[in-house]
């Protein structure tokens, strides 16, 4: 295998990785312990593997690892944790929007990319930004309510 070294910022830290030129970012992250990035369809339709790259939500199963060189990547491990959830995670908990939880990291990251860009998105913006994430359990209603809750909080001038 023709190994190469790349570097990028991962969850705020500058990191170097040896990669196979043919490997995808999803594989690289998971073999380095970032397992909140999930395997799903592996073809760009489910969003389970979502990460944020340079501010945009992308499917890490579609992105080659080398494409991340020099970029800024955020995975779910870069957000809150059980003790101190991020406001999007908190809203999902409050709205009961998590069942099996497999889609949740991807949902949270798509929502984060959206709220970072548009703190108070209208319905069309929410629909467009979240249309790459599938959820088999919740029927989406509660995820939608959680998004509206975060938006309403921003509208009131709540902490972001």
């Amino acid at each position: 295998m023709n190994k190469k070294t790349i570097s990028f910022t991962l969850n705020g830290e500058s990191r170097e990785f040896d990669i196979d030129p043919n490997e995808r970012l999803l594989g690289l992250l998971r073999r380095n312990g970032f397992k909140g990035t999930k395997y799903g369809c592996l073809e760009g339709t489910c969003g389970a593997c979502t990460v944020i790259m340079d501010g945009k939500a992308v499917d890490s199963c579609l992105v080659f690892a080398f494409q991340a060189h020099g970029r800024n990547v955020v995975t779910i491990e870069g957000l809150g944790d059980a003790g101190t959830p991020h406001e999007i995670q908190q809203a999902l908990i409050e709205e009961g929007a998590v069942q099996c939880g497999y889609c949740t990291p991807g949902m949270v990251l798509s929502a984060k990319a959206m709220f970072d860009e548009t703190p108070t998105p209208d319905d069309e913006t929410i629909r467009l930004h979240m249309d790459g994430n599938l959820c088999r359990c919740t029927g989406y209603e509660k995820i939608w309510s959680a998004m509206k809750k975060v938006s309403a909080k921003h509208e009131r001038g709540g902490k972001r």
């Binding site: 023709n2 190469k4 030129p21 043919n22 073809e43 760009g44 339709t45 969003g47 979502t50 945009k56 939500a57 992308v58 499917d59 579609l62 992105v63 080659f64 080398f66 494409q67 060189h69 020099g70 798509s110 467009l128 930004h129 979240m130 249309d131 790459g132």
Partner: protein
């Protein structure tokens, strides 16, 4: 497709020199989202185009100049009078794919489902390409040449796409059918109309997905030219003309259903374009 090496150029000249050096083993890569659909037995060296200065969209007097590496999301979010590609971008798969797929990638290798080639066949415009020297080619000509290379550009780097800026009296219609919101198209139609003194003076109707490569309906265009610019002009079209084309209905569709779908989509596209050109709502 297997990538066994990669190169991350920041200058177009560097990318082009590497393309020449690698020959058949070079693989120009923009978003890279098409690689899953391309079968190749020999390993490739990827030449990443996304670090080249080819990302922006600029408004010129009568057209927009789009860098080949502008993403579909860039096209969706761009706002300017006379800009219509946001309508195509909005119906493109999902946000994650819109965030990395580029316009250049979408038109440099055309699959039956590719959305932007259909829109660009209707809008026309020009492409700026880097070969041994920079060259400008009309979109219709570029697509025509592409057919000789199995629907992909060969040995060129697409740099810019110039599309017309719609002004008063012009209209664009776009209609795409999918089975699920993010599914591949089963029929895509784009229509450009220009109206002069209440009459249609120019019209281009293009369709994709029902063909391996997007096609124009020249007879239908002829039937509309010179007609009054109102929705009723659709009656001037003889849809039996569709029988002349070798349509490729998508999985699960009969030929009759495919023709019917196309008829509805063409009518929708014309109605939208005429309404816009005559100052009505789309």
């Amino acid at each position: 497709m297997k990538i066994n090496d990669f190169f991350l150029p920041t200058k177009i000249s560097e990318a082009y020199a590497r393309l020449k050096k690698e020959g058949n083993s070079a693989w120009l890569m923009a978003g890279g989202t098409s690689t899953a659909f391309v079968k190749s037995t020999s390993p490739k060296t990827a030449i990443d185009l996304t670090r080249l200065p080819l990302r922006g969209i600029t408004r010129k007097s009568d057209h927009f100049r789009i860098g080949a590496c502008a993403t579909v999301c860039d096209l969706m979010e761009y706002k300017a009078e006379g800009w219509v590609l946001d309508r195509v971008a909005r119906r493109f798969v999902n946000q994650h794919v819109r965030n990395i797929s580029t316009l250049g990638g979408n038109i440099s290798r055309v699959f039956y489902w590719s959305d932007f080639p259909v829109a660009l066949r209707a809008l026309e415009g020009t492409l700026t390409m880097r070969t041994s020297k920079e060259s400008k080619v009309k979109i219709s000509e570029a697509f025509h040449n592409m057919l000789a290379h199995r629907g992909a550009f060969k040995d060129v780097i697409l740099e810019y796409i110039d599309v017309p800026r719609l002004t008063k009296g012009m209209g664009f219609g776009y209609s795409k059918e999918t089975r699920t919101s993010e599914g591949f198209s089963t029929a895509t139609v784009a229509v450009f109309v220009k109206v002069d003194k209440g009459l249609i003076s120019d019209v281009r109707i293009a369709a994709g997905s029902v063909f391996p490569f997007p096609m124009r309906f020249l007879k239908m265009e002829e039937a509309l030219t010179g007609e009054k610019a109102e929705v009723g002009c659709i009656r001037k079209i003889d849809f039996k003309d569709l029988d002349r084309y070798a349509l490729t209905p998508r999985e699960g569709m009969t030929l009759d259903y495919c023709k019917h779908l196309l008829k509805v989509k063409i009518s929708d596209g014309i109605a939208q374009a005429v309404a816009e050109a005559t100052g009505g709502s789309r």
